[in-house]
């Protein structure tokens, strides 16, 4: 019965409007780390579309090339085959419409929280003073107005993620790419952050591509969940629409019957991939 809803990795057409992001047949092949001219294909033939204002999650087992997909969308990585399009235009070099929230700590350790948030504006030519004035309300928005002069090492993991969130959103990207941004946080902090993100997102509906290995997180936040198969050569194997009402509370929505149905359905497919992925890591 889990098979029922698993549609083909489809080209979602959203009423003809130009999608915010589209990946077309993206294949990424890397030289194998053990050298000797061998290659390793991380993702293969990945095609998907994210509409303007849509929140899409991609779930998949570890090592399935989730980050690779985001790097292609961000323009940090040129795919071996296929292409990425942002608002209909091919991405070459850094995708100017995209903001990227990394899995690892990416704040500049030599800048204070405020300076980190202001950095994006400074890079866009806003004078330092003004950039910092504009960064202040953003720090307040993520609840850190009293921590502006702290350096990253003086902040907790959750606080650093908040700073990173403000840093990414202040430059007003049309597409926000998030690579397991909250995976390093404890479960309580994590749910707080998820709710905060949903609040910020609902205020001005950006397109979000959210990578996670946590299916509950994916369902509770997204409009749509894409399932990636186990690597190497991971491909999109499932697509599920999440028809839960908004606004949502990520902790409460997990108790609703509809959520549980969706979870059961998607997990039925994801489970196999996780097991496959696990078997592979054991082999190597």
């Amino acid at each position: 019965m889990p098979e029922v809803a698993a549609k083909a990795p489809a080209l979602q057409t959203d009423g003809g409007a130009t999608p915010a992001l589209r990946l077309e047949g993206v294949t990424c092949t890397f030289p194998s780390p053990d050298g000797r001219g061998r290659t390793y294909t991380a993702v293969q033939g990945v095609t998907f579309t994210v509409a303007a204002g849509e929140f899409v999650s991609i779930v998949g087992p570890t090592g399935s090339g989730k980050s690779t997909i985001l790097n292609v969308a961000a323009g940090l990585l040129t795919p071996s085959q296929g292409s990425a399009l942002a608002f209909g235009k091919p991405v070459s070099g850094i995708n100017p419409h995209a903001g990227y929230m990394f899995q690892a700590d990416a704040l500049m350790p030599w800048k204070s929280a405020l300076e980190n948030v202001a950095a994006g504006l400074e890079f866009r030519g806003v004078p330092k003073r003004e950039a910092e004035e504009r960064a202040r309300p953003w720090l307040a928005r993520v609840g850190l107005d009293r921590f502006g002069d702290r350096y990253p090492h003086q902040l907790s993991g959750g606080m650093r993620k908040r700073v990173a969130l403000a840093q990414t959103l202040i430059v007003d990207p049309k597409i926000v790419l998030m690579d397991e941004p909250f995976s390093a946080l404890d479960i309580q902090t994590r749910q707080l952050m998820e709710n905060e993100l949903l609040d910020l997102w609902s205020a001005d509906r950006k397109s979000v591509v959210f990578i996670t290995h946590d299916l509950e997180e994916a369902i509770s936040m997204s409009d749509r969940v894409l399932v990636l198969s186990a690597g190497p050569g991971a491909r999109l194997i499932g697509e599920y629409k999440v028809d839960l009402d908004r606004p949502r509370d990520v902790a409460e929505i997990r108790m609703t019957p509809r959520f549980l149905d969706l979870h059961r359905e998607i997990w039925g497919q994801l489970r196999e991939e996780v097991l496959k992925g696990y078997a592979q890591t054991k082999l190597t």
Partner: protein, 269 residues
């Protein structure tokens, strides 16, 4: 809170007192050994004579001139060596071909004992301050160069990617990412670099000059004036301690963003 550390160090004043105690004990031992003629005062001087000589040198003002010369040479060697080291460090780190081609030569020159260059520099640049500065530069340059090279190479790729996603162009990347990262490495080697700048200055003076602390020590040695030699060493030591303290203050200022060892609020820093 005591649980956090298995063994706590005594508080700062106590440590200072203990450090002072070591100094006093050393002078006392020296005093006793020379007073009882176990060590010959001719070869070892006596602490009283050394202190008295140092005192009169400072009072009469002779030493200030020499101290000033050595300080000037040290400062120049440090400044020139650091700037050159940063420039070349960046260049090499950003141009892989250059760094690969020059790698063996850099290593070879760095392995060369710099003292042998002193006479050459004296020949080229005369006996004034510039031959000493040149010697100091050859020492400082490599320390800074290797640290900057490392600093640029070891910039976290995530931080770099993040800055690029935020819209940084290559000029921004230099100013906001590469430079701070490299400077943190430079400052962590600041003590060593300043020390080497001074070694260059003093050794240069020692081998041939008409002024400076190294010159004074050399003069004293020439007439078997052990008290003069020790007095010169004492002044040099004080000089080094003062400079090191200044460097520590500067370092604290500039690297305030770096994580310190974890301290609880009532722990002594």
């Amino acid at each position: 809170m005591a649980l956090a550390r298995t063994k706590r160090l005594p508080s700062r004043p106590v440590i200072l007192l203990l450090q002072l105690g070591v100094l006093v004990a050393f002078f006392l031992l020296w005093h006793v050994l020379t007073e009882t003629k176990i060590l010959s005062p001719f070869f070892f001087g006596t602490p009283m004579a050394v202190l008295a000589r140092t005192w009169t040198d400072f009072m009469s003002g002779v030493i200030w001139y020499h101290l000033g010369i050595t300080l000037l040479e040290t400062a120049l060697a440090f400044a020139i060596g650091t700037v050159a080291g940063i420039a070349f460090g960046f260049w090499f780190a950003r141009a892989p071909l250059i760094s690969v081609v020059f790698d063996p030569y850099i290593k070879a020159v760095n392995a060369l004992p710099r003292v042998v260059l002193a006479p050459i520099f004296a020949l080229w640049l005369g006996l004034g301050i510039w031959s000493k500065v040149a010697l100091g530069v050859t020492l400082v340059f490599f320390i800074v160069f290797f640290n900057v090279y490392q600093g640029v190479k070891e910039v976290s790729p995530v931080v770099l990617a993040n800055a690029r996603m935020l819209g940084a162009n290559s000029r921004h990347l230099f100013r906001h990412v590469y430079l701070p990262s490299a400077l943190s490495w430079v400052f962590s080697s600041l003590h060593t670099a300043v020390g080497f700048a001074m070694v260059g200055a003093v050794v240069g003076e020692y081998l041939g000059s008409a002024a400076g602390l190294g010159y004074r020590i050399h003069q004293a040695e020439g007439v078997f004036d052990t008290v003069g030699v020790f007095s010169g060493m004492l002044v040099l030591t004080i000089f080094v301690v003062v400079i090191d303290a200044v460097v520590t203050v500067i370092e604290k200022r500039l690297l305030h963003w770096r994580p310190q060892e974890a301290h609880t609020t009532n722990a002594q820093g």
